[in-house]
């Protein structure tokens, strides 16, 4: 996993829970903690940190990951605003993940192992995103999608009719949004 993801995690933990919490998580996870955004680090280190946070915050691991995604996305939007400014709504933005966002990620972070989503756009209301990855980080995707809807000030309805964590061979993220009232 790319060092940049660890950097993001560090940033949101420090911001919301303080420097000591991050130090405590590093100790608890027994990791080195020196992450360069360009470097590659074992996925297990991320899993250990998530596990440590789950214990420390008394939160299920998936919720930690979802929380991480929800809070990391604004940082990314801040750093790369043009990807978001190009759209006015969640759905068209999500549809650019493979071809635009992730292809840019690969340019900046050679070797980045980003997931490839497949889309079912047969309904104009409901977008189905198929996610398949050995990391099973569908919760991170959920967090990102939630934050994206918030970014565009839209009401989101999101669930997973299928999920690898429940034994399915893939995760299906069912997304529909509508403009928030007022």
């Amino acid at each position: 996993m790319k060092g940049v993801v660890f950097n993001l995690l560090e940033a949101v933990v420090r911001r919301d829970y303080g420097d000591d919490t991050w130090e405590a998580l590093l100790e608890a996870a027994n990791t080195d903690g020196a992450y360069s955004s360009l470097g590659n680090y074992p996925d297990e280190e991320m899993m250990k940190l998530v596990g440590a946070a789950s214990s420390a915050l008394k939160m299920p691991a998936d919720d930690v990951v979802r929380w991480f995604g929800r809070n990391a996305l604004p940082l990314l939007a801040n750093k790369h605003p043009h990807f978001f400014a190009a759209h006015k709504s969640t759905r068209p933005f999500l549809l650019t993940l493979n071809d635009v966002i992730h292809s840019e990620v690969r340019k900046l972070y050679p070797g980045a192992d980003v997931p490839v989503f497949s889309y079912d756009t047969s309904s104009s209301e409901v977008l189905l995103m198929h996610y398949k990855s050995p990391r099973k980080l569908c919760a991170l995707a959920e967090g990102f999608i939630e934050a994206t809807a918030a970014y565009y000030a839209e009401e989101l309805s999101l669930d997973q009719p299928e999920c690898m964590n429940r034994g399915d061979d893939k995760c299906v993220l069912r997304v529909s949004v509508k403009k928030a009232r007022g």
Binding site: G3, D20, D32, A34, Y35, S36, S37, L38, G39, P110
Partner: protein, 724 residues
Amino acid sequence: MESLNDADIQLARLKKRLDREQRARAESEAIAEKALSELYTKKKEIELLQLITVAANEASTVDDAMRTALDGVCAHTRWPVGHVHLKDSAGVLVSTSLWHLDNSERYKTFRKATEAMTFVPSIGLPGRVLEERKPAWIVDVTKDDNFPRSKAAQDTGLRAGFAFPVLVGEEVAAVMEFFSDEPAEPDDAVLTIMAHVGSQLGRVIERRRAEDALKLASQHKSQFLANMSHELRTPLNAIIGITEMLQEDARDSDRGNEFEPLDRVVRAARHLLAVINDILDLSKIEAGKMDLHVSSFEIAPVVQDVVNTVGTLAAKNQNSLKLECPPDMGFMCADQTRIRQALLNLISNAAKFTENGTVTISVSRTIAETGEWVVISVSDTGIGLTAEQKGRLFQDFVQADASTTRRYGGTGLGLAISRRFCQMMGGDITVESEPGRGSTFTIRLPAQETQSQAPVLPKSSPPTLRSTDSQRAPLILVIDDDDAVRKVTTHFLTREGFAVTTASGGREGLRLARELQPAAITLDIMMPDLDGWTVLAAIKGDPATAGIPVVLMTIVDEKNRGYSLGAADYMVKPVDWSGLSGVLRSICKSAGRGVLVVDDDDAIRSGLRRALHEGGWQVAEAENGRVALARLAEAQPDVIVLDLMMPEMDGFELLDALRSNRAWREIPVLVLTAKDLTDDDRARLNGGIERILQKRDRQELLSEVLDVLDRCIERRRGESIAVP
């Protein structure tokens, strides 16, 4: 204490964090440096590929491209030695002279060892690549079991080596190998890039092979055309020549009814010849082998001449020809023959497609920014052309429509050829037309030749005639492998008063030229044993024959080559006989045939003298028999023209004197008399004479004399000189 302790803990955490940040930074820098280094390598690889690609596209030869690749790969790898092996037709790799050597002295031994070897599949580094069709790498060639040159490598200090195939499709066409001074582990990046280099170079070879095949095909095509033209024209020439002989015989023996069908044969054959010539002209233009013979000439007479030639054709369709050409049109610089050809084509087309109309030829000069132009337009009031027909008009092999060929004849090539000629001279032919109203074709040519064409060699002046036996008709040696050509040429030349001997091949011709020392030689170019160019060069190279003028008589139109090799003149078959005899006569003029005119009438003698001179005869005169005997003693003529009624010694007496002299007995005598001969007279003459002509109309008489003289010379030559 507590707070101090807290501060310590705080400090320790910060230190730890700083330490972590520093390590992360160092890691970032290492990653960035590695990325930069990879970027640099990629850039170098791209530069190498670019170099190879440019070389592959622009190098004029495969060797050049290979050499560039050798230098490029050595620069890229910083390896000192590179070499190319080419696969030969037996499938074995053979060393080439293509090397990159940083130090040729140092690697001399290795080079020598390499060049002494060939590699079959799987033997040695090149053989392995040949067998496996993919790059191979040897960490240290001096320790490799399959490296026959390991001793030479050891001696010159070469260690690592790699090689890759130059692939044309699936086939290994060549193998490139490189060596380093140090052992080296395989470098996948290098091998990957070398695979690209190999396929780029393969494309160069592929392209070259295709070009070679194309060139060969084109050469075959040219050769085929040359052969075919020879094959086609040779029998046609025979048909035309022999038919003309038959025509003459028919005319002479009053079998007039045979003349017309023979005339049709000649006309059909000439038409066929014209078609063949058109096709050959076009293929020559297309092959870029058509030469222009540019000279300065006066425009008006040339146009007038062409118009005169077409007059009868125009009259056939009840057309009137109108020429608008100011007499002061002046000169232009171009190929006169080709302009005549183009103009003839336009005018005869106009006459062909117009009935009861007018064909107007107008000539003018215009000044444009591009210089001075000569504009010749041919307008008719004929059937005209539709827009669609106009579009197809100048295409090769296309007439206005297919039915035209059947209705009006022609090859449909004339216009295309004419236009190409004009374009070659920097001009063009254009057309304006309205169906039913007529057409105007316009030739536009620069007054001064603009494009530089192939240089026209100055025609060397005919060498002066060698001294030959002046008593005899000039001997012409005819060298031609074609029996029919020899016969026809002999026929016409003897009729024109030349003695002819023939040779059926180059070797025989050279021998006869040396032995007989002919006054002139006519020489064919395409002969099986020695071709005419070789024979011409041999004639001109031998002091014994160098002075004999040679007239090339051939269907190969390469005048410049002929003149540059020393030919006196050049005639393209079918030979225009009067042209040939004119040429030969001018070459042989100092040794014309001798005729003795014996007549007491001054007017008759001077008339005959002038006519005979023009006919190439050397004329001696005598006013009576006695003077004639004196002349005979001085020089023996080839023929005698004799009046019967003369003072002092008349014709009958002179004839008696001739018959009693062995040397004079055989001289043909043509009796020319105003006397109505009695039976007695005839008995006295008793067959010892050629022909008796009555003195009547002067002009008729003169031409008859010439004709008879030609004939008797011809017969005499036929008897006295064997035709091999």
